[in-house]
Each structure stands twice: as C-alpha cells, then as structure tokens.
C-alpha cells in the first residue's frame, strides 16, 4: 500500500468514527427512547457536516496553498455519500420497513421528504462519476457536473430545516456555512476569470 492510500484509509476510519459510535449506542440502547428517530437525525447531521468538510477542501487548499489536501477530497465526498445512504436506509428500511406505497405517499405529499430524496438523487451521479475513469470521460464537463454538490448542500439543509418543528437555529447555521463556502468558490472563480481576461488583453497589447 502506498503512503497515500494508507492516509486515505485512515481518513475514512476517522470519518466513519461517528457512525461507529451511533451504531454502538443503537445496539447498547443508549440513544434514548426513540432510537430509530435519533439515528435518522444523527446520520443526517453527519452527512451535512462531512459535506461541509468536503466543500472546505478547495477553499483551504487555495487560501493556504495546501495542495496535498486535494487528493482527499474524493475520499471525503464518498464518505459523505455513504452517510447519506445510511440515513436513507434507516428511513426506508428501519423506519418504514420498505412499505413502498407508504413511502411513495410520504415522498410526494411531504416536501421535506421530497427534497431529502432529491438531495440523495443529486449525490448519486456525483458518487458514480467520482472515479478517474469518469473524470477522463467527462473532461471539461466533469467540473460542471460536480458543481451540483452545492445544490445538494442547499437542498440537504432545507430538508433539515423543514424537518424540525421549531428549533430552526442549527439548520440556519448550516445554511449560512454552505452559503459561505459557495460564495467563496463563486468569488474566487470571478477573480480567476477577470485575471485571465486581463492577462489576455495585456498579451494582446504587448503583441
């Protein structure tokens, strides 16, 4: 194993630690009186948290020149998707016990479930196209497709916001964090394109 893959494996271990804790507490019946709901909540929260960490990679890399971070972005993104899958499986399998009719009713009638399902469906193609093969195949379109991760971040946070009864404080905190991370990318993309157009015009002047 290369030192990079050892480091990636360690990162996965660390990122999965919260899930291990949730699982251990579930089996030990230490998740309170409603463990199924608590597991749904916790896996959902960790999906959003890991997503925020994943989306922080590029801002940190650019701000501090930490280029070594970029090779961990995919690892973090896929682990985030894994948490989202656990969250969905808890809902579909344990909460609703694969009652497909009831679940379909939930999805179409209740917007917080619909937007949650939408979030997962956005993340699915991103997970599938995360491989080097797909990066090559999609070329220029790969970054365009993967900008959808910001849509998923927003829809995922709205899912959280619409699920809570009254305590909207934390969902709004997550929303603010994702808006900031998106804002960073938008601003740095604008600066980059304005630098490039200045360089082109300087070059044409110099010519």
């Amino acid at each position: 194993m290369t030192s990079t893959s050892v480091k990636k494996a360690s990162l996965v271990m660390v990122a999965l630690a919260p899930l291990a804790v949730i699982g251990w507490r579930f089996y030990d019946n230490k998740l309170g009186a409603n463990p199924i709901r608590e597991t749904e909540i916790q896996t959902g929260l960790w999906t959003l948290r890991l997503l925020a960490v994943t989306l922080s990679v590029t801002p940190f890399r650019k701000s501090f020149g930490w280029n070594f971070l970029s090779k961990y972005r995919r690892t973090l993104g896929l682990t985030t998707f894994f948490y989202a899958c656990v969250h969905l499986s808890m809902w579909a399998g344990v909460d609703w016990f694969f009652a497909w009719g009831d679940m379909w009713h939930e999805i179409v009638k209740h917007k917080y479930i619909l937007i949650g399902m939408t979030t997962w469906l956005i993340m699915l193609p991103l997970a599938i196209t995360s491989t080097k093969g797909w990066v090559r195949r999609l070329g220029k379109d790969w970054p365009r497709l993967h900008r959808l991760v910001y849509v998923a971040a927003i829809t995922g946070t709205i899912h959280y916001l619409w699920a809570v009864k009254k305590d909207t404080f934390f969902p709004l905190v997550y929303l603010a964090v994702f808006v900031m991370l998106l804002g960073y990318r938008v601003i740095s993309a604008r600066q980059k394109s304005s630098r490039e157009s200045r360089r082109r015009s300087d070059a044409s002047v110099a010519a």
């Binding site: 009186a33 409603n34 909460d95 009638k109 209740h110 009254k166």
Partner: protein, 304 residues
C-alpha cells in the same frame, strides 16, 4: 379478550411498573372508573383496544426521559436534565374569569376535595410518536363543578407559569411565553379529561409537567399544558400557543386524526416508543367511541 390473573405472570417477569398496573384501576369503556379490577401486563379490555400492536404501558425511564417541554429546552432529553431544580412548592393556581367563585388556590387545597384516580391512557404527540402512560389525577369535570362557571362560559383556558429564571427555555422566544391552552366546555367536562398530579402512583416528575398538568388523551400531546398556574373561564375560543406560533400547522382542536396530515409529515402512522415497527394511528387516538359525538357535523379538516 382474556384478562390474565396475576398468577399467570411469572414473578420474574413482573417489573415494579407491572406490579403497579396490576393493583391499579382502569378506565372502563363507559367512562366510569371501575375500582379494583386486577389488571394484567396487558390493558384490560375495558380500555378501547383495536387489533393492532400491544398497548403496553411505557417504562418510567421512557416516560420521564423523552419529553417535549420547551420551557426547559428543545431537545427531548433537555427537560429531564434542566428541570431538576424547578420549584413546585409552594404552588398557586388562580381560577378566574366567568366563574361564580374566582379564587387563588394553594395546590394542596385545590386537590384536597377529590379522590385521585389512576388512568392508563394512550399519549400521541403531534410529531407522530406515542406512548401509553399510567397517569394519576382528578377528572377536570369534577373540579369545574366546584368552580361553578357561569352559563356564559363556553371555553376553559389554561396558562403555564412564566418564570424564565426557573424555566431557562423561556429566555428564548422559541414560543410566545407563557404557554396557553384551552378546551371547549364540553371537552373540558368530558370524563376522559384529566388534571394530572401523578405518574405510576408517584408524584409527577418535573419534566412531565409537575405539579399540575392537563391530559386530553384524544388530542395531540401539545394540548396537555404543563405546570398550570391559571384556569380561566372565557366566552371566546382561546388562542393556544402552538396555533399562535404556526397557525397553518397547529390548530385549536388538535384531535388525533389519521386522515388529516400535518402540512409537513403524515399523521396516518406513529412510532410507539419502545416498539420496533410503526403503528397505525387511530381516529381520536382510539377514543372515538367516547368522543366522536362531540364533533358530529364538524369539518375536522378545517377545524384541525
């Protein structure tokens, strides 16, 4: 349905709570409290049951550890943690409004004339979880008869204590404090409506609404106002706190109704705490036989 006699249950299976249930009275279908029915681990058939999963009473830990009581925080385990030092003595209840004998009562004097009754009720939260809880208290109807409301009083309104130094959640405007609830007079006079002071025969814990709370088992749990300090008789429908907070989502009647969803989630099924599979929600939380006549002809979709 066969009522098991205590001898049928192995002594090793009897928890302290089972033993309590075995000695207690149960509410009969006719609405009369029958004394001395020796129950079993299952509820007596007198409690309206349908062919669905077990209506076993929840444990003390479940009932006192999973609470919505935003005066003490919005997490389910906040009330148990934060209500430890809440003072319930001395406690005054003001009775006022359209009533012959308005007065301020010390709690001990308020409850003195009545015999406490034990009632095992289903409890259904609007969030779609539920429990079965052995309350102890006084039928509200008996108290109202003593207060002698005027004929013009058509509603009863209840108010919770407002004391942000004792109830830290009240320091934040999560809800428009103090918590207010109300019932139509016929709902208040219904035999099922209970003013609760105890749980499993013990004093009601702080996180469950001590020292005095309301329980209306055919309505969503948020109608069961806690830590009551005022009972007012009025002639206008009270604006209850959750309705003020989110009028599109929470109404005055709040009858448990599997056919009327919350705007954001379904009310057709519920998670019974302690059970693995979801349960179908029953109309009026299974008390339809006893209460549906109160709402005859009403559009329950409009009056939610």
């Amino acid at each position: 349905m066969l009522i098991k006699k205590p001898g049928d249950v192995r002594s090793s299976e009897i928890t302290a709570e089972d033993a309590y249930i075995n000695r207690r009275t149960f509410l009969a279908a006719t609405g009369l409290a029958t004394a001395g029915i020796v129950g079993s681990r299952h509820l007596s058939p007198a409690l309206p049951l349908v062919a669905r999963q077990d209506d076993k009473p929840n444990t003390w830990e479940e009932i006192t550890g999973y609470n919505n009581y935003y005066e003490f925080g919005t997490d389910k385990d906040d009330p148990a943690a934060n209500a430890k030092n809440f003072h319930t003595k001395p406690w005054t209840v003001k009775v006022d409004g359209l009533v012959k004998k308005p007065a301020d009562y010390h709690l001990e004097d308020l409850v003195k004339p009545y015999k406490f009754q034990d009632r095992v009720y289903r409890f259904r939260c609007v969030e779609a979880w539920s429990m079965v809880i052995p309350w102890q208290g006084i039928p509200l109807a008996e108290m109202i008869k003593t207060f002698e409301p005027l004929p013009s009083a058509t509603y009863v309104q209840f108010t919770t204590l407002y004391a942000p130094n004792e109830m830290p959640g009240q320091k934040l405007p999560v809800l428009p404090w103090p918590y207010v609830e109300g019932l139509r007079m016929d709902e208040a006079m219904h035999p099922l409506t209970l003013m609760v002071t105890g749980l499993y025969g013990k004093t009601l814990p702080n996180q469950n609404g001590a020292p005095l709370r309301l329980i209306v088992p055919w309505k969503y749990g948020f109608k069961g106002i806690k830590a009551i300090t005022r009972i007012s008789f009025v002639d206008k429908q009270p604006r209850n706190t959750w309705q003020i907070s989110s009028p599109g989502e929470y109404g005055f009647y709040a009858n448990v109704n599997p056919e009327v969803d919350h705007p954001r989630w379904t009310q057709a099924s519920e998670r019974r705490i302690g059970q693995f599979r979801r349960m179908k929600t029953l109309m009026f939380n299974g008390y339809a036989d006893q209460v549906s006549s109160l709402y005859a002809g009403m559009d329950l979709r409009k009056n939610f």
